[in-house]
């Protein structure tokens, strides 16, 4: 699976590449993806085969690693509907396939889930899980837990109603589907089992009553991020995205159960607890980021927690048994809120910044992609640190009237992004000590960091930047040990694996795109600062430093 383990640590026990020899890393082979939009997929390696998915048209490549230079073993073209590109908010990306029990599962843009025979590439089943005519698309990587393929939709920018569905891995039938909005029966809340820590989640049908009448039907809260699983507690954890539309004025209420984290029973889908990071979201601070499942020392005792770097700029530590927030520490420059009230669990918004129609709210930090978007962080068991790509951006924000028309964007906001205060460097790879709750070091980047990270037992952290540099960083000091300029910007997820020849390899997809890279890959016009929902105002220059591309790079130490 792209996140390597159920705990989402992205930690690899391989230690052939170390801080000492990583500087010698060189290209082992490359492989063209044949597509030119943002390459967000994690390459995964099962046995002798490397699998990755391209963005639309979502071709799955199986690369035979036994062949020199990595020959194509087979590929699968699911032929997703071309029109579904029109409802992909931030480019038709795909975050990768997953492997379970001899099968490869992945999602296609037009809201289908596909199961292939990992060996032959033969299509086993294909299930239409959503309807892109109403905004449902798939960009996330599925997770398989106990023979259930967990998939969630994207499309909160189109008024799609969010859900997480569990498909039977053997035949693709839908076992359960938990909606993010609506009556408790849809959200799979059974009050006998649902024990949230805070009282504001305890009412009946809050997914209806915390919305204006009928609005929950187009209320967003999609599930396009990462899912974690704790086998011991037998719970899955996942985040729900922003409510629709972005313009908060049309949806008074806390908008349950958007922008929060659910703990659910994977067998039945029933919710165990819930916590909402950004109630009544003002800024598209979509809460879909990864949940790192850690057992750590907390005030003298071991606690089972999830650590969650949240888009609103706080690093949350949540008791994963009860859903109690133990800590929420700001890790970036924040003006949008004033902290988290640990007693009530509520985010304290900055009243001065509440947007209202007819004026631009300025200096909102972090901006809507947040202090950290979907780009997954990693956790090293050796150093005990979290390696997290994050950004320091602010924005001007104007809400405006918006109308729901199925199949068109449902946003109601004009925004302009710009770098946050500081030296103009927007991105950073940060090492965070979850126990001491502080930052240890950071590697600054001029542009937003839009790639995932991976850390190895050799104490090397890998990530890439939008200009196309793929970097290896010392996991303890933050020293950049090695870097390589790939052909295009990197927004993918690095993977390290042991090849058939026994050597350790590192793989990354290069190909700019996604929200931050859309200015380049979509050839958007930076004369409009609101292009790409606001990135037009700040990443126009990037066009000079990064071109459109799509290439798999695999690195290894010289023989």
């Amino acid at each position: 699976m792209p996140s390597r383990d159920y705990a989402n640590t992205r930690y690899s026990g391989l230690d052939e590449i170390t801080t000492d020899n990583v500087a010698k890393l060189q290209v082992a082979f490359t492989f063209a993806t044949g597509t030119l939009l943002g390459q967000e997929s994690a390459p995964i390696v099962i046995g002798d085969t490397l699998y990755f998915v391209t963005p639309y048209p979502n071709i799955l490549y199986a690369v035979d690693l036994t062949q020199p230079g990595g020959a194509l073993k087979w590929k699968f073209d699911p032929k997703p509907a071309a029109a579904s590109q029109g409802v992909a908010c931030c480019q038709p990306v795909n975050r990768g396939p997953t492997y379970y029990n001899g099968r490869i599962f992945y999602n296609t843009l037009d809201a289908h889930t596909v199961a292939l025979d990992a060996e032959t590439g033969q299509l086993l089943w294909k299930t239409r899980v959503g309807d892109f005519n109403y905004g449902d698309t798939f960009t996330m990587a599925p997770l398989v837990v106990k023979n259930k393929v967990l998939v969630g939709n994207s499309g909160a920018e189109f008024g799609a109603r969010g859900w997480l569905a569990a498909l039977d891995a053997s035949d693709g039938s839908i076992a359960w589907r938990a909606f993010t909005t609506g009556p408790d029966s849809d959200v799979l809340i059974d009050h006998a089992e649902f024990k949230p820590f805070y009282p504001q989640y305890r009412g009946k049908d809050l997914g209806v009553s915390q919305w204006p009448p009928e609005h929950w039907k187009i209320g967003g809260g999609t599930v396009w991020g990462w899912i974690s699983y704790d086998p011991e507690l037998d719970l899955i954890y996942y985040g729900t995205s922003n409510p629709s539309p972005w313009n908060h004025e049309v949806r008074p209420g806390d908008n349950h159960w958007t922008n929060g984290i659910f703990a659910r029973d994977p067998d039945t889908g029933k919710a165990r607890w819930f916590y909402q990071f950004s109630p009544h979201d003002l800024w598209d601070h979509s809460a879909v980021n990864e949940n790192l499942i850690l057992d750590m020392q907390w005030q003298g005792q071991m606690r089972k927690v999830v650590v969650r770097p949240e888009r609103n700029g706080y690093m949350y530590v949540i008791d994963r048994v009860t859903g109690e927030v133990l800590a929420a520490d700001a890790y970036t420059y924040i003006t949008a809120s004033k902290g988290v009230d640990l007693k009530t669990g509520r985010l304290i918004y900055n009243e001065d910044k509440t947007p209202s129609q007819g004026r631009v709210v300025r200096e909102v930090c972090p901006n809507s992609p947040g202090a950290k978007d979907w780009t997954p962080s990693s956790f090293s068991k050796r150093t005990g640190l979290i390696y997290m790509p994050h950004n320091n951006m602010c924005m001007d924000w104007e809400v405006k009237p918006v109308s729901y028309i199925a199949g068109t964007g449902y946003i109601g906001v004009n925004a302009r992004f710009y770098p946050g205060p500081g030296d103009g460097n927007v991105g950073e790879l940060m090492a965070w000590d979850p126990v001491a709750r502080r930052k240890l070091w950071g590697v600054p980047e001029r542009w937003p960091v839009w790639s995932g990270t991976a850390v190895t037992a050799g104490d090397v952290v890998f990530y890439g930047n939008l200009e196309g540099w793929f970097k290896a960083v010392h996991a303890q000091t933050g020293e950049v040990l090695w870097q390589f300029k790939t052909a295009s910007g990197i927004i993918g997820q690095p993977t390290t694996f042991r090849g058939p020849d026994g050597r350790q390899y590192v793989a990354i997809l290069s190909g700019i795109g996604g929200w931050a890279g859309a200015m380049v890959s979509g050839e958007l016009d930076e004369r409009d600062p609101t292009a790409a929902k606001g990135f037009g105002n700040m990443v126009g220059e990037l066009k000079k430093q990064s071109g459109i591309g799509g290439m798999l790079y695999v690195f290894a130490l010289p023989r």
Binding site: Q85, G86, I411, A531
Partner: protein, 181 residues
């Protein structure tokens, strides 16, 4: 003396007539009918076939009221959510010189009505045709191709592109759709 007066009067007259066309506010106009608009003028057999221009359609991009209404409907029908203020987002930019399916007002009209395969939904039956013409005229103004004296400089909104009154006309070229885009 008189001839000079006459000449200047004629000149004045012409300017004024242009004014009439620019300023009319037609609430009840029948939408121009078009047929046979192709996104490309490339035609097998070697003779390119230019877009059949409809003079009534062209009036839309010279009329201030229509363009202004077009701007309103561009917002109302969520066009901005994919094309921003012309810089593009999910959809391609509209303010540049690249037109995947043709940049004539008739072609823009048919792109809106028919939809295009890579994600542009069809608005047929959803937006009445007169409003589609108005939107198309506004889209033309983004690349500076609508009448300069008929376009609004800006809207009452966040500052986006250069004022439309100041955008130089962008020479257009028609391109067939790229593969995979």
């Amino acid at each position: 003396m008189y001839s000079r007066c006459l000449a200047s009067l004629l000149l004045l007259g012409c300017t004024l007539l242009a004014g009439c066309e620019r300023e009319t506010r037609a609430f009840h106009e029948e939408a121009p009918a078009i047929n046979d608009v192709s996104p490309t003028d490339f035609r097998a057999g070697g003779t390119p076939r230019p877009v059949a221009k409809n003079p009534q359609a062209a009036e839309y991009e010279r009329n201030a009221f229509h363009i202004s209404e077009g701007k309103r409907y561009y917002e109302w029908y969520n066009c901005y959510s994919c094309h921003a203020a012309g810089g593009g987002d999910i959809g391609p930019p509209l303010m540049d010189d690249e037109w995947r399916y043709g940049g004539e007002i008739e072609q823009i009209f048919s792109s809106i009505v028919e939809g295009r395969p890579n994600g542009m939904p069809s608005f047929a039956g959803r937006i009445p045709e007169q409003q589609v013409w108005e939107i198309a005229a506004y889209v033309r103004s983004m690349s500076g191709n609508a009448a300069k004296d008929a376009v609004p400089s800006r809207g009452d909104e966040i500052k986006t592109t250069k004022p439309l009154t100041q955008v130089p006309p962008t020479p257009e070229r028609s391109e067939p759709p790229r593969s995979n885009r």
